[in-house]
Structure formats: C-alpha cells, structure tokens
Symmetry: C2
Subunit: 333 residues, 2 copies
DNA sequence: TTGAAAGCGTTACCAA
DNA sequence: TTGGTAACGCTTTCAA
C-alpha cells in the first residue's frame, strides 16, 4: 500500500526547518543559506518528495494547466494542432487537457462551462461551433481564452486567424490558369466560421474573374470523406458543366475525387479538384491532392504561445496571430 | 474584471445554511429537507456557483483526472485510441491530460514521474519504451496504471494486450496462400514490445510453414513512412528473392509499397506487402493496403474502462484486456 | 535568512 | 436533517 504521501511538512521535519523554508527551496525564492539549502535538498531527495500540484493550485489559484477543445482529435487536421499546443505548453511546464466537441454546439457549451470550474488556467478553442453571442458571453464570464478563426475582439481573448480568403482565391486562380471556368464548391458545416470564410473567398474570386456562378454551385455538407462523395455527386449530376471542384477541406476533396472517378471522369483531365489544409494523406493518395496548405502545427504552437503570454501578462491582449496559406500543386488539379 | 470567485461559503450565506449543507446538495449526499434543498439550489443558480475542482481535489485526494501517455498523437494510430479513452473518461466525468513521449524512454520517464506529483488519479501508458524493470519500479511507486502490450503482472496495474502473435501469423498465412515463400519483415523500433511480439509471431509462423529464413530477412527501423522506404530498399536490394514484405505497421508498409514501385516492381503482382493496424488511410492509397486490423478505438476505450474500474474498486486488479486482430484483404497482397 | 500564522475552497467526521 | 471544526498540502504575509 502506498504509505502516507510525503508532504512539505515531512521534508521540513526531516531537514529541521520550517515548511516555509522548504517552500522557498522548491520555488527558488528568497535567499537561503547554503547549509540549509543542502539539508533541505537532501531531505527532498531522500524522501522522494514531490510537491502536490493540487495543493499548490489551491494556494496560488493557478494550476499550470490548459484546456484544448477541438471538434474531434480523430479528424486528421487536429493531431498536429494538438501537438503544437503541447510542445508550446510543455516548454513552459504546462499540462494540457483535451476535449472533443463532436461538432456539437451544445457539447461545446457544456465543456466550456465545465472548464470554467477551474481545472485550467486558460482555454484554446478550435473549431468552435457556438454562436458569436454565446462565445462572447463566455469570454465575458471566463478567464484567458484563445479562439481559432473567430474575429472576436475582447480583452483577454486571443485570436488566431487562418487566411481562408486568400486560400480560396489561390484555388480559384489555379483553376483559372488551367482553363477552368465552371467551378463548384463543396462547403463545410454551415456553422463553421472557416467554411463561411472559404465560401466568401470563393465567391469573391469568382466575381473577380467574372466566372459563371449559380447559388447551387455551392453545397454544404459534413467535412468528411463521405460528405465529399455525396456533395460531389450532387454537384456533378446537377451541373455537368462543372469541370472543377473546390472543397472545404482535404477529406471532402478526397471524397470528391472518388466520386469523379466513380462517375467515369479522369482526374485532373476531365474534372479537377482542389482541397484545403494539406493533411498528410493528401500527398499519398492517387492522384495526389492539389491543396491549400495550412501549417497546422503552427496554429497550435502559436495559439498556445499566445495564451501563455496572456496568462503571464494578464493585462496584455496580444495582436491576432495570422496563419498564412500556400498553394501546393500536386496531381488532382 | 472577474470579481471574487463565488465559493461554497457565498452560497451558504445566500441560502442561510451551512457550507456543509451546500456540499451535501452538490454531492447528492445525505438527506436534505425539500425547502432547504430548494433554497440552496436557488442560491447556486443565482450566484452561478461552480465547485472548485482543485479545492475538491485537495479535500478528497481525487481529481477525476486521467493521464494519457502516447508516443506521438500525430502518429495516425493514436488519435483513435485517444478518442476511445476520452469517451470512456467523459462518461464517468473524468478529464484527460495528454502527453507525447516522442518514443524517448527518457522523456517517458520524466512524464511518468511528473504525473506522480498529483494531477492525475490514474495513468494510461501506451507505446511505452522504458525497460521492464523501470516500468515495474514505477508501478511500485505509483498509483493505478494501465499499460498496453506489456505483460506486467502487478497489483493495481491493468494490462491491455493486442494479439500481435496472431496478427503476424495471419499475415504470413495470407502470403503463403498467395504462393509466397520468401518473406521479409520490416520490424519497428527495437525497444517496442509490440514490434518484438510481431517479430516473434512472424518467426514462429515462418518456422511452422517451413519457409526459408535468414536473420537479415528482418530489419528494424523507425515506424514511419520514411523508415518503411529505407528498410524496404535495404531488404529488396540485399535479397532479390524476397517477394513479400510484412511491415510492423501501416506507415512502414506504405513506405515499402512506394519503394517497390520505385524499384519497378508491380504491387502486388511482383512484390506483395502487408501492414499492421489498419489506420484509416490504408483503404485510400493506391494500391489499397492489405493489413492486420486492430480496433484502436477499442484499445483506448477498454483501457480506460479498466483504469476506471481499478480506481473505483481499489483492491481489484481486473483481468487483462485482450484485443483481437483480423486480416483485411485489399490490394497490396 | 528563517519561522508562525492565516488562508485557498472543499469534504469528512462528529455532534447537535 | 443540519452545523461546527478540523483536515487536505501548499503559498503568502508579516515578524523576528
């Protein structure tokens, strides 16, 4: 059986000093005479003492803990983001909790407020699906928070923005260069801000190049392989004139490619497809996917850095973190 | 600014009862008269009171928190595992911390002992790379722990075992059925128990079918696409007689397929490849990968269930969780 | 340079 | 059914 946890008290007794002195030693705070230091260190060593995170948390009101909220860690976009967060957190000796919302606004709400009951010093919210007003209300209620792709302006709230507009434009321009004029779009979840932004960028670019457009050239759907398949089929059957498809993300793009091939079109000769994100699989499929690359690790890393900055410098609200995008030309377009 | 956190004290005062009573209400413990209950509930509501996880943790010595340790969440094997863990944890209202060891025994050691300083009630250790003795020492030192693919027998330590031996045998049998006799293996990291087990199963099956064998038919390497490429090239160049390759995991298998094709072999006609794990990408590559499927979500889910059982029933050491495998025949073999 | 005492927000134990 | 008091393990503040 585990014997009584060794506490600061035990160490103090063993070293013949007060708890206070031990506390000073483990926190490198205040001056301590070498002999005392040595005795304390020795006692800590001997007893295998490890300060309790929880007790310390209660005393300081800080747990050195971050909450990372994503739609689904199984979505290939997020592991890299998470990794970036963890690396940044670890460098500052923070721990990170992980939560999945499953794209459900209700679940997200629930997680957010449960997080408020303390375990974390700050929250990273990626792929948020709750309404602006609700997010704002939460930001009001809660402590440090960093959100992805939601242009919220609020003290103590950090913002990470992916240049979705530029990305969509890049895709359209590439299609145009390849001689396409009729371009359809597989949009993502209607509640997803990044989908909304990509659609907007798409529309702008279309207008700019004076390309033909109908409302039904854009169809929303779940951001999955299956979603891509279904939407692409709808698009292609209803609009045979479409020769190019721009997808909200790579998974949908992959589904779209599959549908094209199933329908007997050669890709990219007869139907071209461009995705978004450049998840690692994009380079390995056949045909390899042309896509808009987003540095996912960077999103996580820089978002976490931003959060840590806010945490250490309470007053400051750092400027928005901007994440650039880039066109990666492979085979599908 | 956030005003003073509302505490149980505030609620008690507002409801005109003692803290104790409030505590009873939020924990559904003990009998409480309806009118009191109502007043307390009302006060909680009005004040927006949320019990502090940390204070509760200090008082109960339980944080309802799990630590999940994996080599790298970016490795496509682990997101699903993590998801399983999280779903199981969430069902019991536990939170989960995530850590990456980067396949480094030293880093793993560090994380494990840092976890011991409290934040978690129990640990899930997947893809461990530390030595048996060290793991045992830690199990001795530490609280509830569940490990993957390490046949550790120790009270309070749960074990999840993937049937790697059977998996390797399945692969070899399939090769044999397809007429292959000279089979090479791309082994994983030498320190990985699951790699060791897969190699062992491979050797046994080879012997059983009296297939030709040389030590150099098995070459270890990093469990990545690149690792697979390099090892496959070594194997194929040194042993042109090999017509079939069994890989430690799907990433290596994918690399092996690439090398085969780069070397001018057709897959599966001239060189066949079988992977392990059945990560989701395996079905999407060209050729699609024949592989040994492991239910990754299940690993996480059942491991977490096992840990929670130990936590709730301290004495009990549940039986090992066994995870079956299955051959998935696609195109690469 | 060191120590004593109070406090962080909750639960546990024992009375009332 | 309810309340008082003492933990839980640490840091902070103030003295010595």
């Amino acid at each position: 059986m585990m014997r009584h946890r060794v506490t600061i008290e035990d160490v103090a007794r063993a070293a013949g000093v007060s708890r206070q002195t031990v506390s000073r030693v483990i926190n490198n705070k205040g001056e301590i005479s070498p002999p005392t230091l040595e005795r304390v260190m020795d006692a800590i060593q001997r007893l295998g003492y490890r300060p309790s995170w929880v007790a310390r948390g209660l005393a300081t009101q800080r747990t050195r803990t971050l909450g990372l909220v994503v739609p689904d860690i199984t979505n290939p976009f997020f592991p890299e983001v998470a990794r970036g967060v963890q690396d940044a957190a670890r460098a500052k000796d923070y721990h990170v909790f992980l939560y999945n919302t499953d794209e459900s606004a209700e679940r997200e709400h629930q997680i957010l407020y449960s997080l408020a009951s303390q375990p974390v010093d700050g929250i990273l919210l990626f792929g948020s699906r709750i309404a602006d007003a609700e997010l704002l209300a939460f930001a009001e209620y809660y402590r440090p928070l960093v959100v992805l792709n939601r242009p919220i302006i609020h003290p103590g709230v950090g913002v990470v923005l992916v240049d979705n507009l530029a990305g969509a434009r890049l895709a359209v321009e590439h299609f145009v260069r390849r001689g396409h004029r009729h371009i359809g779009m597989l949009a993502g979840p209607p509640a997803s801000p990044s989908s909304i932004q990509r659609v907007e960028g798409f529309c702008c670019a279309l207008a700019e190049y004076q390309l033909p457009f109908q409302e039904s050239y854009i169809v929303p759907g779940p951001p999955t392989l299956e979603g891509g398949r279904v939407i692409a089929e709808q698009l292609l059957c209803r609009h045979p004139e479409l020769t190019a498809l721009f997808a909200y993300n790579d998974m949908m793009a992959l589904g779209a490619v599959q549908t094209c091939m199933a329908l007997g079109y050669r890709v990219p000769e007869q139907r071209a497809v461009i995705g978004f994100d450049d998840i690692w699989i994009a380079a390995l499929t056949h045909p390899a996917l042309t896509t808009i690359r987003v540095n996912k690790y960077d999103i996580g890393y820089r978002a976490a850095r931003c959060l840590l900055t806010i945490l250490e410098d309470a007053a400051q609200s750092p400027p928005a973190v901007e994440i650039g995008v880039e066109l990666v030309i492979r085979e599908s377009a």
